[in-house]
């Protein structure tokens, strides 16, 4: 029996200067490709957003990095090593709606689950684990709720609990799937504050995001995805109307007040007022 759940044979080091390095990744469910020939580089220490329309493969990209879906082709390296050897260095915040919040368990229990990977087989969490979990709950402002049954939490509180669970993982690369979906404004501010703090502590964060308007305020790195990678790089260079239009299709061209053909690498950024209408409209498109 292996000591750790994620222990695999050691492989060669490849692109160790990148937090995440993906080569030629293709994932398909049945015959429909969900991700097509993805090449992606995320340098360490950035707070990166992944945006794209519904069905663009954003969640699948995250799951592929975590080894939760089997790619048809391609390689994923995390800090220079094949991702499956590096799961201990990756923290994960799944979409809130993927679990049954009526499950009989408490907030503290859920947060301690983030430590299960470090504990390995059979060993139970003890006092040290409880303390780490309480620290994380403190950071997300949920310490007072530690003994609450999780069914009593609001959406925003659920998200904070998931965030605390990722915090105790003490990872170096964090993958977050729509952490701001369906939470109140206070929680959203709290979450982004926390993500920026993690970045300042040298962590790398890749966040699936849905709100184009808040991109420049929240993130410093941007990945535009629609089955293929449309553009990637520092937000200031990538966040252009031309790129967004290419990602979301023609709808974005219908934006009021935006002259056609603006954009291009390094060109002016699209006005946030105009983009406000873009996300929901583009969302309906596959």
């Amino acid at each position: 029996m292996v000591d750790r759940w994620d222990e695999r044979a050691k492989g060669a080091v490849h692109e160790p200067s990148l937090a995440l390095h993906i080569e030629d990744l293709t994932v398909s469910y049945d015959h429909r490709p969900v991700l097509w020939d993805i090449d992606l580089d995320i340098p360490p220490g950035v707070l990166a957003a992944v945006v794209g329309p519904n069905g663009a493969g954003k969640s699948t990209l995250v799951k592929a990095v975590l080894g939760m879906v089997k790619p048809a082709a391609g390689h994923v390296y995390v800090f220079g090593r094949p991702h499956l050897q590096q799961l201990r260095r990756i923290g994960y915040v799944p979409q809130r709606t993927t679990v049954d919040w009526d499950f009989p368990t408490t907030v503290l229990d859920v947060v301690m689950m983030g430590l299960y990977g470090q504990l390995g087989w059979i060993r139970r969490p003890g006092r040290a684990e409880r303390r780490k979990a309480m620290d994380a709950l403190e950071q997300v402002g949920m310490a007072a709720f530690c003994h609450r049954q999780i069914s009593q939490l609001s959406g925003g509180q659920q998200q904070r609990v998931f965030l605390a669970r990722a915090l105790v993982q003490d990872a170096e690369l964090y993958l977050l799937d729509e952490p701001m979906a369906g939470v109140d404004a206070t929680t959203e501010r709290h979450i982004i504050g926390l993500l920026k703090e993690l970045r300042s502590r040298g962590k790398t964060l890749l966040v699936v995001h849905h709100d184009l308007q808040t991109l420049p305020e929240y993130f410093d790195w941007l990945v535009l995805l629609n089955v293929r990678i449309v553009a990637q790089g520092p937000l200031k260079q990538v966040y252009t109307l031309a790129n967004l239009r290419q990602t979301y299709g023609s709808q974005i061209g219908l934006l009021h007040g935006m002259p056609a053909g603006t954009g291009g690498p390094g060109a002016e950024s699209p006005g946030s007022a105009a983009l406000e209408t873009a996300a929901p409209r583009a969302g309906g498109r596959r």
């Binding site: 994620d6 975590l66 080894g67 939760m68 201990r88 994960y92 679990v99 009989p104 299960y116 504990l119």
Partner: protein, 380 residues
């Protein structure tokens, strides 16, 4: 009716020990099945046990428990795999896959059973008791077998507690930690087959699914943590086993297995209705109480307003007026308020019909009531 001395009876003691073992095992393992929304897999697995039992008998040539249980286990596992495979690789939805597999295996089992019975093979008598179980047929060596299976199953749950818990709650996150989730899910399903095997003798293949679902469902209503849920489910399961067996002793021809199942489902129904915070009846009562409390506050505030507009804090309001303002519920609300000492009926105006006024406590409560309008008239 037999007295307590019957408990020392050999057959009865075997049945009681067997029934409590069965209850504990199915309660513990069933809780995971219920929480993973996999309880019906238990139905397919238990029905599929029948052909396994028959094959075990045909191969071993005896009615001993080990070959039969092994056959049941293998067939149950095959059925569970078939359900998963059908759901994954065909266009059948999970419920249709379950139904198909369940009936196919059970049909095969029935064919084998009638075949064996007609061949008059030695030792085949009573093989059909595995359909609905037969408590009197439980032998000491069966108990050793059931105990061994229980030990293995409960030991596995104890050992891999945190792994099972994580996979039941959030399989996606479990995979992100590198945990072999598919393997653990397979183990959890296989353990349902173990629970079924433990129940074969007593409850039988047809009703066994109830023992997988009911204790966990009942326990889930009362508990906030998985630890307590599983323990309570074990308790409910054991209690059902013991109570059901005792009930069957009350008269001749009362089948033990079905009685155990009835007790277990009875516990589940009571829990679903009355568990605090989650039970349907409990919630309805809480809603009623909340509605009544709001009605009370409205009437209190209304009377306060009337008293103020008349410049008389002890102003007596006619019942009919309150009826007109608050509907037929006003009388009930006034009586509730009277019991709380907040209003009192005014008796000296009885010739003019019933009147009500606020007591001094009522005035205090009404003045503090946010529903009350700000005072327009001062009066005392």
């Amino acid at each position: 009716m037999p007295g307590l001395e019957i408990l020392s009876d050999f057959t009865v003691r075997n049945a009681l020990i067997g029934a409590s073992l069965l209850g504990v095992v199915s309660g513990v393992l069933g809780t995971f099945a219920v929480l993973r929304e996999q309880s019906l897999i238990g139905d397919a697995v238990s029905h599929a046990a029948l052909p396994g039992i028959c094959l075990g008998f045909l191969i071993a040539g005896t009615r001993e428990i080990w070959p039969l249980a092994l056959g049941a286990l293998a067939a149950g596992a095959a059925a569970a795999l078939a359900v998963l495979a059908l759901t994954r690789y065909s266009r059948l939805k999970p419920d249709a896959s379950l139904g198909t597999v369940l009936s196919t295996f059970f049909a095969a089992g029935t064919v084998l059973l009638t075949y064996i019975q007609n061949r008059q093979l030695p030792g085949q008598a009573g093989l059909d008791s595995f359909l609905f179980g037969q408590a009197a047929a439980v032998l000491p060596e069966d108990l050793w077998f059931m105990g061994a299976v229980a030990l293995v199953a409960l030991g596995a749950v104890g050992l891999f507690w945190k792994e099972f818990k994580l996979v039941a709650f959030d399989p996606g996150f479990a995979r992100s930690l590198g945990l072999p989730v598919a393997l653990i899910e397979a183990a959890l399903t296989a353990m349902i087959a173990l629970a079924v095997v433990v129940g074969l003798q007593l409850v039988g293949v047809v009703l066994m699914v109830a023992m997988v679902i009911a204790p966990g469902t009942a326990a889930r209503q009362w508990c906030r943590r998985l630890e307590t849920t599983v323990l309570l489910a074990a308790g409910f399961g054991a209690a059902s086993g013991i109570l059901g067996t005792m009930l069957s002793l009350l008269g001749r021809g009362l089948a033990t297995g079905p009685l155990i199942v009835l007790v277990a489902t009875g516990l589940a129904v009571v829990s679903l209705l009355f568990a605090p915070g989650r039970g349907a009846a409990w919630k309805a009562a809480a809603r009623r109480r909340a509605r009544a409390a709001i009605e009370d506050r409205h009437i209190l505030a209304g009377m306060w307003q009337l008293a103020q507009s008349h410049g008389d804090a002890a102003y007596a309001v006619e019942q009919g007026m309150l009826d007109a303002m608050y509907g037929a519920g006003a009388r009930g609300a006034l009586e509730r308020l009277e019991r709380q000492g907040l209003v009192e009926p005014v008796t000296h105006m009885s010739e003019e019909g019933l009147h009500w006024r606020l007591t001094p406590e009522g005035r205090k409560a009404a003045a503090a009531e946010p529903l009350s309008p700000s005072p327009t008239v001062r009066g005392e």
